[in-house]
Symmetry: C2
Subunit: 525 residues, 2 copies
């Protein structure tokens, strides 16, 4: 399927008068074709279709929904090289990375197909009637979780495949039974259209209702705000900047009927270099750190933007090793001119900060669109005084905070905002200190690692890609991993409903052979 620049609203592809173009990330040149800009009529049409599809889609056979997600995956694979080429042009991401990302996109759609089959997400519970209970009989009570309603998903700049039109939030929302309306990220409208076409086609091929999926594009923030404000939208998935996420949170809260917003926004992902780890392997830690910091030109939500360690010769060894390694890192192309400009100004702000010194820089960049890595250093007492030092810089920049002792290091951890991840570099001898820090890290982060690096988020059952504010706007959930299906569900209780009217998964005899909680006891299928 070649690019058309059309909006995809249900099964229809349509154009509007106003258009915008994607941009080649390397050259800055405009890319063909022009893309139609969605306005109020298109939002209205997409929401009306999603609303009318909702009751049919959410009540569709689980096996059909499973086939649908597999078909989405198949259709994305079938797009072949054209998808990777367009994604490479629009994002500047290298081919190998995009191949991995496509693999992840396809794998997460298939994983959610498996989740649908497992059925534990339905939260089935049955309390049997007690007709002879005194003084009053007890009714028959049955519970399941149902989909929240149509979901608006925002494409992310840094994952044109895995967090965009066919990405994680789309997969989990569709698995939960929610129709989805994607608002494409304006930096990769072509990639987004192709992936969206794959989903829309899969919905049609599977005989699902029109409105199960739509795809809107446009360069303005107003489009997204109008979509979130529509009363038929019942939840929002977003990955991006803190300002962007909070703008959507405010729109959602101001609706006559507020809705959940799952915005993944801002994290500096602290890495704590414990004393024995530094003593044992300062140089190896530096090598691992530099690799994680500069992977993908630092454009991951889980980029290690903050290092905490005790002052002393072992920290100095780490800094020397990092300062040796960093200049060898060739600056990489950033995702967009906008991101690169923001990165430059954030770096400049720290460069000029009186309490911050530069430890090392990556290789020089000869081009305005390349991200040159940089490692800063500051003292804990200065870090505690100025919250600017704790703010996320999206790109390959990180700040080492020198602490006097573990008490001060703990104070820093208590002081920082919520995080996606927190990492301990430790040896066995560091265990007592690690044990003291762990409860603090649990309060601060969605994922805690030892002796690894936060970049690289596995799509599995136990993954949490979430965390306290502002890492996300809702710490009760995750955007990556199979638990993500729960963010799009709500419980409903059925009291004394006749068998024929009950949802099949709650009927006597367990016809779908699913796990159910029967009078408080897990009844495995």
């Amino acid at each position: 399927m070649s690019l058309t620049g059309h909006l995809i609203i249900g099964f229809a592809r349509l154009s509007t008068r106003d258009t915008f173009k994607g941009m080649d990330a390397t050259s800055g040149a405009a890319l063909e074709p022009p893309f139609s800009i969605a306005g109020s009529p298109e939002i209205e049409r997409a929401c009306a279709l999603a609303h009318s599809a909702f009751d049919i889609y959410r009540r569709s056979d689980l096996a059909l929904r499973e086939r649908f997600l597999d078909a989405c995956a198949d259709n994305i694979v079938a797009l072949g090289d054209a998808l990777l080429e367009r994604a490479g042009a629009e994002s500047g991401l290298p081919r190998a990375r995009l191949e991995t990302e496509r693999g992840r996109t396809v794998a997460q759609l298939r994983l959610f197909a498996d989740v649908i089959r497992r059925g534990d997400w339905l939260g089935l519970r049955i309390d049997t009637a007690q007709p002879d209970r005194k003084p009053l009989p007890r009714a028959d009570l049955r519970q399941r979780k149902i989909a929240l309603g149509p979901v608006a998903v925002f494409g992310a700049s840094n994952f044109p495949l895995a967090f965009s039109a066919a990405g994680g939030d789309v997969a989990s929302a569709l698995a939960a039974g929610c129709p989805v309306i994607v608002k494409a990220h304006p930096s990769h409208p072509g990639t987004s259209e192709m992936a969206a076409g794959a989903i829309s086609d899969a919905a049609r091929e599977c005989g699902l209702p029109e409105g199960t999926y739509s795809h809107l594009a446009g360069p303005s923030n107003e489009l997204g705000a109008a979509l979130v404000a529509d009363p038929r939208i019942r939840a929002v998935g977003f990955t991006g900047s803190r300002a962007g996420g909070m703008a959507l949170v405010r729109v959602a809260a101001a609706r006559p009927e507020p809705i959940p917003v799952y915005a993944e926004m801002s994290s500096v992902n602290p890495v704590i270099l414990l004393p024995h780890a530094l003593k044992t392997r300062a140089e190896a830690i530096a090598a691992g750190f530099v690799a994680s910091l500069t992977a993908g030109v630092g454009q991951f939500c889980t980029n290690p933007g903050l290092l905490l360690a005790l002052e002393g010769p072992d920290l100095d060894r780490f800094l020397v090793a990092a300062a040796d390694a960093l200049p060898n890192i060739v600056p990489g192309l950033m995702l967009s001119r906008n991101i690169c400009a923001n990165y430059g100004s954030s770096v400049e702000r720290l460069e000029k900060h009186p309490s911050v010194s530069v430890v090392a820089r990556g290789g020089e960049s000869r081009d305005g669109n390349l991200g040159r890595s940089v490692l800063f250093c500051a003292h804990a007492r200065d870090f505690l005084r100025d919250k600017v030092l704790g703010e996320e810089i999206f790109g390959p920049a990180s700040l080492v905070v020198r602490c006097t002792d573990i008490t001060e290091l703990t104070e820093i951890l208590e002081h920082i905002e919520g995080q996606l991840t927190a990492t301990l570099q430790m040896e066995a001898e560091d265990t007592p200190v690690a044990a003291r820090l762990l409860p603090v890290l649990e309060r601060k982060a969605g994922r805690i690692l030892t002796n690894g690096w936060p970049t690289g988020v596995e799509v599995t059952h136990a993954m949490v890609h979430g965390g306290p504010f502002p890492a996300t706007s809702d710490s009760r959930t995750t955007s990556v991993g199979t638990l993500a299906i729960e963010r799009f569900l709500r419980p409903v209780c059925y009291q004394d409903i006749p068998q024929g009217l009950l949802p099949i998964e709650l009927r006597d005899g367990n016809p779908l052979n699913l796990q159910r909680l029967l009078d408080g006891v897990n009844a495995a299928p």
Copy 2:
């Protein structure tokens, strides 16, 4: 333990200079003793204690926490008649009702003790490492849910025991591992102090940290708002008016770090009288309706405030029967003068409404504090035109909406806001119509009943006492039943954490013998 009028902050009982008094619901007379009013220093102290207790309490042994909830229940029972007498004086509720409510309060504490033991709420998931995976090895990933943090719980006017200082939100928050700070409802400060003392004593007896539980009182809304605004509070449980709930939602959203608010606010609990049910048993339905409408002087969140039926002789039979029965209902004492005054003005608004007629009234009330029941009637087309007709009246008032046909009845259901419950009165012949309505009801309500009445909320595993806005501010959860524990949890992932540092429930060998999801497969203990 006799009443002191003290605030309970951690294990300390203390007084402040400013005081207020409870009021005898029957006579309006002030009740002794005067109660200390919590101000900023008391909020500060309670929040500081809760914060410092949090890491200890949430990581306490599950068996200890279980004993604690059982001890709370024991201590409430040990308060004996004094608790019921004070509750009766402050609320005007009859002794039999308060005995039932105490039973429920105690039972739900013990039920959550059982839930703690079951451990499924911990959401344990393990993805085993794949060290040989190509191109990159996969880390060991383990997930559990942990408590959100200190929770502010607001006592409810209509359940001085079961939804107040030792009520549902307190039980589920404590079970989840959250310290709790209760803001007592000002209409029953004495009942609240007694129940709170039972919880605080249980915490001390079990060796739990001071700050696990505190109890603040005061007559103003500012106290509650200040508590919700405190950065150490991480979630809020509230049952009350729409205005009160939305005020707290706004305070929580305006914090630098927004937090979840579980406000249960407003519901008219539609009951749909399907044609064959009316034809078969109009009179019996009327009897059941009048009993449900007037139970507890209509002061239940699940009171049936809206009836939908098709016009015709069978509906007329229902109305005649209801009009016969209602005058026999002796008006009951309402919970407070304030509630009775609000009820009176809401009823008056409908009496004066040009589209509304009065079908019947309960027996006459000779006293300003008694709630006289009333049944109104209106046409569907008028209901659709004026949203005032769909607003909750807290008290024994209900509105019958006459519909021309099922299409119009469905339109009404689509038109109304979110509800705690929706009920179908039906016969087997009504099944096709019920099947068409059910998906709409699922979208609109947290609990769906057939041939019962919504009042009477069982505390079980499958119960949902929640629903779309404005029934609650967060439809993803319930305030009654064991699923309520989930509202106070968030997931955390542990990546490559050494065994000795892992929480015990995630360690190899499953030492606590709990249900865990192992590589995507349910591993029953």
